[in-house]
């Protein structure tokens, strides 16, 4: 068994630490048509508490099904990682999810209260000798379906961004 993509232990408090490193902080005023900032409990299945709204809003903003699918998958993977590997299901810890949606642009920022991890140390799950390992694909899927994904220095916060019409649009 290889380690899941975002193996993180627990510690720290939920604060703006994860957002300090972004070139364009989520707090910047933009053309967003919808936004939400939600603290999720560290429980299995909690991602629905924000993703149902996010998916609905993407549809309302005219996003096509295949693009919504990609955002859904990436956000689900990020939130599940934060709950399971970041906060390790610790009921005293929260996962902060910040969403911004416009007709051509979506941002989802997921921050847990773990100490973080180093995404560059996650092994390549597409290597021949790793193809049949059951874990380790979440990070790859996030990268594939989004225009941009960035972790903060600490590794406890990930920013997912998708821009329609971007050169590397999936």
């Amino acid at each position: 068994m290889i380690r899941p993509p975002t193996a993180v232990a627990a510690a720290g408090t939920l604060n703006d630490h994860g957002r300090m490193d972004w070139p364009n902080p989520m707090t910047e005023s933009q053309e967003w048509g919808w936004q939400a900032d939600i603290d999720l409990p560290s429980e299995r299945g909690a991602s629905r508490l924000v993703l149902d709204d996010l998916l609905e809003q993407l549809a309302i903003h005219g996003w096509e099904h295949s693009d919504i699918f990609g955002v859904h998958l990436a956000a689900e993977e990020a939130i599940v990682n934060a709950i399971l590997h970041g906060n390790r299901l610790d009921p005293t810890k929260k996962v902060r999810v910040s969403c911004r949606v416009s007709s051509r642009h979506v941002r989802v920022e997921v921050t847990d209260e773990g100490p973080g991890f180093r995404p560059e140390e996650v092994p390549d799950c597409t290597r021949e000798d790793r193809l049949e390992e059951p874990g380790g694909r979440g990070l790859l899927l996030m990268r594939s379906f989004m225009t941009r994904i960035e972790y903060n220095d600490r590794g406890n916060s990930v920013l997912l961004e998708k821009k329609l019409g971007a050169a590397d649009e999936k």
């Binding site: 299995r44 299945g45 991602s47 629905r48 099904h65 295949s66 699918f69 990609g70 859904h72 998958l73 689900e76 993977e77 599940v80 399971l84 799950c125 597409t126 193809l131 049949e132 390992e133 059951p134 874990g135 694909r137 979440g138 790859l140 899927l141 594939s144």
Partner: protein, 131 residues
């Protein structure tokens, strides 16, 4: 009596109660369909894994087809279960095939290169004929 008799797989009217999957037979092939449109809830995925693995480990089914009709979404945790199932089937000297996968999910298999690991066919009839 709901005793499971793994020595007699031909006699299997679904023995174990399945909640996440629907199991039927076409000739010698066990055809599995999924009850969830979105395979992402962690606890459901655990249950899904248990039910899928039971087809191999308890029922000793050798030819298994996963028909993904109706499945709109699956997460990497679900992929993990499919990989483990594939391993279990292979080590039991059985064969696993998949069919009716919608384009978005097929893309997930391609990105993760699992299309090289799994035997994927377009339609159920193609897959059944290929066993």
């Amino acid at each position: 009596m709901t005793a499971i008799d793994a020595r007699d797989p031909e006699n299997t009217v679904p023995m174990a109660t399945h909640r996440r999957i629907d199991v039927s037979k076409t000739g010698d092939v066990t055809v599995v369909r999924f009850n969830d449109k979105k395979i992402l809830d962690e606890s459901n995925i655990q249950e899904l894994g248990t039910e899928l693995f039971g087809l191999v480990e308890q029922d000793n089914r050798k030819a298994i087809l996963l028909n993904f009709t109706g499945v709109e979404f699956l997460s990497s945790a679900a992929l993990g279960k499919l990989i483990t199932l594939d391993r279990k089937v292979k080590s039991n000297k059985g064969r696993l095939k998949m069919s009716n996968i919608r384009p978005e999910i097929l893309e997930v298999f391609q990105i993760t290169k699992l299309n090289k690991v799994f035997d994927i066919r377009d339609e159920e009839a193609d897959a059944v004929a290929a066993f």
